[in-house]
């Protein structure tokens, strides 16, 4: 093999792997990207049923209902619009009414959002960024306001925590 053909082989191999990587990225981009929507966006723009997206906002106070067989229903709101959500599974420990939540799933024809993933924050003072931004856009959220929610959390702990047994 001459020097020239060796170089050619090397460049061809680089090009092939690069093209493969770019092709994979582009095809994955078109198929597996999930958009974030606030309840207001869902209400105004409408999302076709069957499209996967992330819905984020606050869990509406008083909306949490536990059904049979680990099904839970709750409403996600940005105080402007509200979307009803149904989910089967265990809720995260920091899931609370009145607190931020991000859910992933798709709308059913009736307008109910069927979630297969529910993400809550991992820290008392941490608000999912998408939720904070969406609420800021609605003018309903100020930086640092998350700390005020401590009281609500205590009230809810009674329903979830070990104290309920006393």
């Amino acid at each position: 093999m001459t020097r020239k053909s060796r170089r050619l082989v090397l460049i061809a191999a680089c090009g092939a792997v690069l093209a493969l990587a770019v092709g994979l990225i582009l095809s994955a981009m078109s198929g597996s990207i999930v958009f974030f929507r606030s309840p207001t966006e869902v209400a105004n723009q409408g999302v076709a049923p069957g499209t996967r997206f992330r819905l984020g906002g606050l869990v509406k106070e008083g909306s949490l209902q536990r059904g049979a067989d680990q099904t839970v229903d709750f409403a996600v709101t940005d105080t402007n619009a509200t979307v009803q959500v149904t989910y089967r599974g265990l809720l995260p420990d920091l899931f609370r009414e009145g607190q931020g939540v991000v859910t992933e799933g798709m709308l059913e024809p009736g307008g109910i959002f069927r979630a297969d993933t529910v993400l809550a924050k991992h820290d008392e003072s941490y608000m999912p960024r998408e939720v904070a931004d969406a609420l800021k856009a609605q003018g309903r959220w100020q930086e640092g306001a998350g700390k005020d929610s401590g009281k609500a959390a205590t009230a809810n702990d009674k329903a979830l925590g070990p104290r309920s047994e006393r």
Partner: protein, 667 residues
């Protein structure tokens, strides 16, 4: 008082690292070797100072000194002692101090290492390392000082986030940081080579042990983090393609590529410029990871409490080092003498393919991690890039890479014979195919890709074992099949051969573990005591729900008995909800029952006043192989590190001129 002295030591470290950074460069300009030698004591001094500062902070945490803001925010008198210690780095400021401690430790090790690093190269490397230390110490002193006092001092602290109150915190960050920060040394070596405008096999040999150390620790750190997330978050997953996980995976992939390209450089004096570029990229990705974790730009389970000034400062560091090193590269790399080209079918050809696939895989992870950020900046549209994206991009690139692993090992340097290599691998290929088909037949009707993965894993494990056996049996007239002789020869093989086989075999074990997750099952139910939930081959019975109390929490535990389908008891498992009054926070503790390498995983949901509970139960076949494989990989790195050629210098024709009068030749 000790806190102030610690603070002062940190300031002293800032000054010493500046001396360490400036003196060697000045020495090169004035040609004064005495100035150059200042770098060594400066590096040792900086390490001693940071160690003292770290010890002071640890003391403050251990004694619950609530006059220190950092302790107030992250500690509590009732917190168990182990978590008081690990809590030192369970927060932004303290973990940055640990980061810097490891950075200066590596600087000190380079300064005292008795190896064949030419003194000029060593001095320049220490200089670059000093600059990194200087910038990071400046960062922590100005924006994230762990020694800030709290006035007035409160009587009690806020406690550590309960999710972090786990042995995982004691182990995962230190391992990960040794890995992350270890690549700063290869970065410093690369920058030093560029400053000198000279690079050769001596450089490759000098860099290799540091790359191996960093890579092995990063492997362990990532694996430990994965296991911790698996049992602590209660979702049963072992990898989430979370931005922060990606942030640690990217330097690992680039570091793996670097590990392989330095071999080519050392043996064949080729791929020099590429290796220098990889060294720069690997540490740049480590810095990018630090930025991602601490800036709060991306939503992640790891997010620290964020502060915009820190993000801007780290962005500045990122621009300084990545931009600076790439500029230096563009300016000086043409000076480096290029090595020759080589045949595509050869060991080095296979290693180039390894680098190509690894870099492409790394690029897909980078795109998937940063694309949401860039899109949001450009259009304001918020998206999330989740596991489907990475499964569609990363996996198709990883599979061909894994296929060439045993193949590349078998090829000879310079000019390989593909057919002969395939013949030697025939046993591995046949066995892998048999294992895959047998698995498919046994699990007929189940997932199809999982048996393929099992076959691939078997191919890697057998291929690695075969490599050792083939080499021990010898070639041509030396060939033997007497077991005693083969055994003695196998023992006598270079440690690096064993290291390679172990690391590649470890990859195979990981692949086996991942593939087996195709048969994982899960069940979800509301249970009363006495009721059962079945998943996979096991049935769990809820025995009782009872309260327990720990040192700083109250727990409601569900105690379960696990039986197989025939009703024979396998073991007991308990899962609970822990309530931490200090943070008013509830955390689920998942329960694990290990059967061989498989696990039954229980996670408790809501507990209702009438004694019923929500329960999720997973069956995870062979899941432990994922982390055991990673440990085997790291072990391979460690064995490779004990290779004779790590201790004996490379032939060093080129450096005789630059020997100072009092230097002792390494050979």
């Amino acid at each position: 008082m000790l806190v102030e002295v610690g603070h002062f030591a940190l300031a002293l470290a800032l000054a010493l690292s500046l001396v360490q950074a400036v003196m060697p460069i000045w020495a090169a300009r004035t040609g004064d070797p005495a100035l150059r030698q200042v770098a060594t004591p400066a590096a040792l001094g900086a390490f001693a100072c940071v160690l003292f500062a770290f010890a002071a902070l640890t003391y403050a945490h251990a004694t619950s000194d609530f006059s220190v803001q950092n302790v107030v925010e992250n500690s509590h008198t009732t917190k168990p002692f182990l978590y008081k210690l690990s809590g030192v780095w369970g927060n932004h400021e303290g973990s940055m101090l640990l980061w810097i401690l490891i950075l200066t430790l590596f600087g000190a090790l380079v300064a005292v290492a008795h190896d064949s690093v030419p003194p000029v190269l060593r001095a320049h490397t220490l200089s670059v390392q000093g600059l990194i230390t200087f910038v990071f110490v400046l960062f922590i002193i100005t924006t994230s000082n762990p020694f800030t006092r709290a006035t007035p001092a409160p009587l009690e602290g806020n406690d550590l986030n309960p999710l972090l109150q786990d042995v995982g915190l004691a182990v995962h960050p230190p391992l990960l940081y040794v890995g992350y920060v270890g690549f700063s040394i290869t970065f410093a070596f690369a920058a030093a080579a560029l400053i000198e405008g000279r690079i050769d096999a001596v450089w490759a040999r000098a860099v290799r042990p540091w790359t191996l150390v960093a890579w092995s620790f990063l492997t362990l750190g990532i694996a430990m983090g994965s296991y911790w997330a698996y049992y602590e978050l209660g979702w049963g997953g072992w990898w989430f393609w979370d931005p922060v996980e990606n942030a640690s995976l990217m330097p690992w992939i680039a570091g793996t590529a670097l590990l392989h390209s330095t071999v080519v450089m050392e043996k064949r004096d080729a791929l020099k410029v590429w290796t220098v570029l990889l060294s720069i990229l690997t540490f740049s990705l480590s810095l990018l990871g630090t930025f991602i974790v601490r800036s709060g730009l991306l939503t992640s389970v790891h997010t620290f409490a964020t502060d915009p000034t820190r993000g801007v400062f780290i962005l500045g560091i990122l621009v300084l080092f990545i931009g600076g090193s790439l500029t230096l590269f563009a300016w000086r790399a043409p000076l480096l003498r290029q090595g020759g080209l080589f045949a595509p079918i050869s060991r080095e050809g296979a290693l180039v393919m390894n680098n190509l696939f690894l870099v492409a895989a790394c690029a897909t992870v980078l795109v998937g991690t940063l694309y949401p950020l860039l899109l949001e900046m450009a259009t304001g549209e918020k998206i999330s890039v989740g596991p489907p994206f990475f499964n569609m991009t990363f996996v198709p690139l990883a599979v061909p890479l894994l296929l060439i692993v045993p193949f590349g090992q078998t090829l000879a340097w310079k000019r390989g014979d593909a057919l002969a290599a395939a013949q030697r691998l025939f046993a591995a290929l046949a066995l892998a195919l048999a294992v895959g088909l047998a698995t498919l037949a046994l699990t007929w009707g189940g997932p199809v890709l999982a048996p393929v993965g099992i076959g691939l894993g078997a191919y890697l494990v057998v291929g690695s074992a075969l490599e050792i056996i083939t080499r021990a049996r010898g070639y041509g007239s030396n060939r033997t099949s007497a077991p005693g002789l083969v055994w003695r020869r196998a023992i006598g093989l270079p440690r690096s051969a064993w290291g390679t086989a172990l690391a590649h075999g470890g990859v195979g074990i990981v692949v086996l573990g991942i593939a087996a997750q195709g048969w994982a099952t899960e069940g979800l139910a509301t249970l009363k005591p006495g009721e059962t939930l079945a998943t996979g081959p096991y049935v769990a019975t809820l025995e009782r729900v009872s309260p327990r109390s720990g040192p700083n929490y109250e727990e409601t535990a569900a105690i379960l008995t696990v039986r197989d389908r025939n009703g024979n008891a396998v073991g007991a498992v308990d899962t609970g909800k822990r309530f931490y009054p200090s943070r008013r926070m509830t955390v689920t503790e998942s329960g694990l029952l290990t059967v061989g390498a498989s696990q039954v995983y229980a996670s408790l949901g809501e507990v209702h006043p009438d004694g019923t509970i929500g329960l999720r139960l997973y069956y995870k076949p062979l899941v432990l192989l994922i982390w055991l494989g990673a440990v085997v990989m790291a072990l391979g790195g460690a064995v490779s590190l004990t290779d004779r050629r790590m201790r004996v210098g490379a032939p060093t024709r080129a450096r005789t001129k630059s020997l100072p009068p009092n230097a002792v030749p390494a050979e």
